[in-house]
């Protein structure tokens, strides 16, 4: 017993030691993590973000250097806060708040303390950087916009947020990431891959050399340049035309699906979202819930398409052989489809051609009626019709290379079965679909794409905004033809009708010498409900077109909110865009002046008054200047009373 005691104690305690070491080394993961934080410092080398060019090689977006002040809260050592704050023009409260925020993220990891200093601020700080232990500067590259247009296309660069940090291991707090537009969509291509250097440091945080001779270090990969399909001259022209209007212009090259211009109005200078004012400016833009400058109307807005949809109604009628070019319908300021549908065409006997260029509601109402009544099973007919419509890319996400979009709506049997409890649908219920005023909703880019399909006589390419990525092929889906369900032979009659829109029809005042433009005006009713009351607002002005008729080079859709009727705003703007793109100069100077200087702002003000339920008061102060004047006069009054 006595002999066995010491050996037993030795063996038992050694087993305990081994068990404990096993726990620490193999089971407890926590210690390994702490060890990494302890001794290895990662230093990142951020590659320069790729440049963005337009289709003609014009540089649109470049980079400029900028400097961030980083902080490692644990390493802050009695610094002169007063000097520090005055150097950076921040208050002491700011200082405390920012350090605390960084500490919450991590006391040991670097956080951005102050971002995007300009050169002067940086120089002043850098001189004294040594005195502020725990702080250091980090060079970043920021966007340097060469143009003022296209903010909605580019998107912007911002610091990654918490949600992305959690999801994507690539990013660290304070890293920059593309948001919206191509910056978001092509983030990985533009940003490149940051390089990492692992450095060993001792307990004083002093770097003592590379970790494992740099075995794990990676070299930064440069971001790749993007060439957009955008024609900057056209984009710029479109933006100018849209001043003081709201809406969108989408222009597509039919032969390729390349987006030539993507204008959304109102818009903003992309440079607003660069630098230290970025966050403030972004908040202002974001909070503007009326003009919605961050809302890309060309991509995101789904409106009723109005008369341009008659093109589809006509094509389906021909394909389903419920009409031919000679089929005649009668119009008497409208026609009765169980309920009366009004028409302003002013003609009485209509065939496909004059029905199209005069945009006769009765003609297309009858065509639609025949399509829906072709089959006994009305639901089958509706689905048959919906399939034709969807083959033009409507009612679904187009799959463009922009991160946002709108699905729009093409009603099918599923929707109507729910709405009508499965009862047989009569064409009269849904007759408004024939003229694009029923349940159908489309976005401007869908309409432009639809025009491209018509211009191509039966196929389209998925619209896309990137033409070339350096050293990389374009996604296959952008080079695959999507065929519509309409046979090629049915397109010419409709196209003829569209050309005659310029010759004799609703756009006869917009003709441009030497260019055969095929177009279609549109007017879409719209209403809003505010506080339980429905208000009828001014119609939206719509125009779709492609040109030239032979070998089309541009197809586009123009949408002007509350622009009253198609040929008032949308038609002229579309025509000017076409002439600008095809000829490079404008012959219709009168038209151009009217469009550039025209404004619909008064109309928008009225809508605002409705939305905010304002009593319309002519003396009511509108702008900030008036507001200041009123304040001054009130102050005077008070003085006199005293």
């Amino acid at each position: 017993m006595r002999k066995a005691l010491l050996p037993a104690v030795i063996i038992i305690t050694s087993v305990i030691l081994i068990a404990r070491i096993f726990y620490l080394q193999v089971i407890d993961e926590n210690l390994k993590l702490q060890s990494e934080n302890n001794a290895i410092k990662k230093v990142f080398d951020f590659p320069e973000r790729g440049y963005i060019y337009d289709r003609n090689g014009k540089l649109l977006v470049a980079n400029q250097p900028s400097y961030d002040i980083m902080v490692v809260p644990r390493e802050i050592k009695d610094i002169d806060t007063t000097e520090f704050c005055s150097l950076l023009h921040i208050t002491k409260a700011d200082f405390i708040k920012k350090v605390e925020k960084a500490r919450v993220y991590s006391p040991m990891l670097p956080s951005v303390f102050l971002s995007q200093l300009n050169k002067a601020e940086y120089a002043a700080f850098q001189e004294k950087e040594r005195k502020f232990e725990g702080f250091y500067t980090q060079k970043r590259s920021l966007r340097d916009y060469q143009v003022k247009e296209g903010a909605n296309i580019f998107g912007f660069i911002t610091q990654v947020n918490e949600a992305i940090l959690k999801k994507n291991k690539y990013y660290n707090s304070g890293d920059l990431i593309g948001k919206q537009g191509v910056e978001q969509q092509y983030e990985e291509i533009l940003r490149g891959v940051k390089g990492v250097k692992y450095l060993l440091r001792d307990k004083h945080n002093k770097i003592i050399g590379p970790y494992k001779e740099g075995k794990f270090d990676t070299i930064a990969q440069q971001g790749k340049d993007l060439t957009l399909t955008i024609d900057h001259a056209l984009q710029q022209y479109g933006t100018e035309l849209m001043i003081n209007k709201r809406g969108g212009i989408v222009a597509i090259e039919p032969k390729t699906g390349e987006i030539l211009a993507l204008v959304s109005a109102p818009t903003y200078d992309p440079a607003l979202l660069v630098g230290r004012q970025r966050s403030k400016n972004y908040t202002t833009l974001y909070n503007d819930s009326i003009a919605k400058p961050l809302y890309d109307r060309g991509l995101q807005a789904a409106y009723p398409p109005g008369s341009p949809f008659k093109i589809i109604t006509g094509l389906i009628g021909l394909q389903e052989e419920v009409i031919d070019e000679q089929t005649t319908f009668y119009c008497n300021h409208g026609a009765n489809f169980g309920r009366f549908m009004k028409c302003h065409c002013g003609l009485h006997t209509l065939q496909l051609n004059n029905g199209t260029y005069k945009s006769c509601n009765s003609y297309f109402g009858h065509t639609y009626k025949r399509t829906i009544e072709k089959y006994k099973d009305s639901y089958y007919s509706v689905d048959n019709w919906a399939n034709h419509v969807k083959s033009f890319g409507l009612g679904q996400f187009l799959g463009t290379d922009m991160p946002i979009g709108a699905k729009g709506l093409v009603p099918d049997s599923k929707l109507y079965k729910r709405a009508y409890n499965g009862a047989k649908i009569r064409s009269s219920y849904i007759i408004s679909n024939s003229i694009g005023q029923g349940e159908v909703l489309t976005s401007p880019i869908q309409l432009a794409n639809m025009m491209a399909a018509v211009a191509n006589e039966g196929y389209y390419f998925t619209p896309h905004i990137v033409k070339k990525i350096k050293g990389q092929n374009l996604d296959k889906k952008f080079t695959t033809k999507h065929y519509t369900t309409i046979d090629k032979q049915y397109f010419q009659p409709i196209i003829q009708g569209m050309e005659d829109v310029y010759n004799f029809g609703t756009a006869s005042g917009l003709r441009v010498e030497g260019i055969k433009i095929c177009g279609k005006t549109g007017t879409a009713e719209n209403k809003i409900r505010v506080a339980g009351k429905t208000y009828q607002l001014k119609d939206h002005s719509i125009f779709v077109a492609f040109a030239p008729r032979e070998n089309p080079k541009i197809a586009l859709a123009v949408f002007i909110e509350n622009g009253y009727w198609g040929s008032r705003w949308a038609g002229p703007i579309a025509t000017l865009m076409i002439e600008k793109y095809l000829n490079g100069k404008i012959s219709r100077k009168d038209l151009e002046d009217r469009m550039l200087n025209g404004s619909i702002e008064d109309e928008y003000r009225k809508i605002e008054n409705i939305i905010f339920q304002r009593k319309v008061d002519p003396t009511r102060v509108q702008d900030s200047l008036n507001k200041i004047n009123v304040e001054i006069s009130e102050a005077k009054k008070e003085e006199e009373e005293n």
């Binding site: 050694s14 620490l24 702490q34 990494e36 001794a39 003592i208």
Partner: protein
């Protein structure tokens, strides 16, 4: 037989284990003290270079021991012990104070820690005393003398104050127990230590309740020994008094740094940047090693110098970090093999002197080993004792070498004993 050379009779297993541990020890010191610019391994401006020198100097030391007369250690044990005590007393006058402990003599560039020497001297004298044929530890007088041999240096060392070294001496209670000291000495020591820590974790009032229940159960079920209720009562009173006095001792007698070390162990309100820093860093270093370690010379914690005094008391953290669980286990098993080998040899000695001395050697080495590693992995309060053969320092390496090789010499000489 008498003239058989010493080379044929020494225990090669022990020596191989010794050499393996010394080599591994030097390798870890090399890793832990490697500067950025590589220099020769013999560069004595570097820690590893000096340790190489210290290792080299053990060779003449070993040879002197092996070729000297084995009897000399037994004969001169009184002298050694006397010199040792004088050296300890001399510290009060000539000692150098380092980190609050006056336990060094400084001669020019070399330091000398007398407690290392006294360990061997105490083991020799204890072996000498117990080997007298008339000594029987059943007698109180003999118990007192046996304990006095151990506790005189303990008292002197505690005054330095060097709790770590004192604890090593106290471990000789294993030896006395082996040689017949009544078991209650050993077990009351164990119970006292247990009560001390428990009373810091549990309120004393609950603790004495628990002790009461245990004693009642013991009284009811233990029929073999005489069950005198008065003895039980007295024993209980002593334990209760001890439990209550712990908080007083803790508050008034212990130094702040000693309290910190205990607090760190029981996880009580510890700042990992200050008093908890050493332990925390040591656990991080060991824990980060994983199953197979980061590889020799690849330890990030070791290179970063996060672990304090890594080449001395914390040297095992480098083993843990670079060689992982497998390497740590190998090192522990090598130590255990050496301890068990020494005990095995001790039990087979023909003289009581050799046996007791061998036992002392095993006990010393084991206590160092256990206390050192246990404190790194939060199983024991932080007490500065070196890891035998591993920790940097000539004084400690030579002391352990002398300690071990005297026994190897005694063992080799056993055929000459009658």
């Amino acid at each position: 037989m008498k003239n058989q050379s010493v080379g044929n009779r020494i225990d090669y297993i022990s020596i191989l284990l010794y050499i393996a541990l010394v080599i591994m020890g030097w390798m870890t010191i090399y890793s832990a003290s490697l500067p950025l610019e590589e220099t020769s391994i013999f560069d004595i401006s570097q820690i590893y270079g000096r340790q190489m020198l210290f290792i080299g100097l053990t060779i003449p030391l070993i040879l002197i021991i092996l070729f000297s007369d084995a009897k000399i250690f037994e004969r001169l044990s009184f002298v050694f012990y006397g010199i040792g005590i004088i050296l300890l007393l001399g510290l009060f006058v000539f000692g150098v104070t380092k980190k609050g402990q006056t336990n060094w003599y400084q001669f020019g560039g070399f330091g000398f820690q007398p407690s290392e020497f006294v360990k061997t001297a105490t083991a020799l004298l204890l072996a000498k005393y117990l080997s007298y044929s008339q000594i029987n530890l059943k007698y109180t007088k003999h118990q007192i003398i046996g304990l006095a041999i151990v506790f005189i240096p303990v008292l002197l060392i505690l005054m330095q104050p060097d709790a770590g070294s004192a604890m090593i001496f106290i471990s000789l209670i294993f030896v006395l127990n082996r040689e017949g000291l009544p078991s209650w000495y050993f077990f009351s020591g164990i119970i006292a230590i247990a009560l001390f820590f428990l009373s810091l974790v549990i309120q004393p009032i609950y603790l004495i309740g628990i002790v009461f229940v245990i004693m009642v159960i013991h009284y009811i079920f233990n029929r073999k020994i005489s069950r005198n209720p008065i003895v039980y009562g007295l024993l209980y009173l002593v334990m209760a008094g001890f439990a209550f006095s712990v908080s007083y001792v803790y508050d008034s007698v212990l130094e702040p740094h000693q309290k910190d070390r205990i607090n760190v162990l029981i996880g009580d309100d510890v700042d990992m940047k200050r008093e908890g820093y050493n332990l925390n860093q040591s656990m991080i270093a060991i824990g980060s090693g994983g199953l197979i370690g980061k590889g020799y010379l690849e330890g990030t914690q070791t290179k970063g110098g996060f672990v304090p005094e890594q080449h001395t008391d914390y040297i095992f953290t480098t083993v843990g970090e670079e060689w992982g669980f497998i390497g740590s286990t190998v090192v522990i098993l090598l130590f255990v093999a050496l301890f068990l080998r020494i005990i095995y040899l001790a039990e087979n000695q023909k003289t009581k002197f050799s046996r007791v001395y061998g036992y002392c050697v095993a006990t010393y080495l084991f206590t160092h080993f256990f206390v050192n590693i246990a404190m790194l992995i939060k199983l024991f309060p932080t007490i500065g004792v070196p890891l035998p053969f591993f920790s940097y320092g000539g004084s400690s390496l030579w002391a352990f070498t002398i300690l071990l090789f005297i026994f190897i010499k005694l063992d080799a000489n056993k055929v000459n004993e009658w």
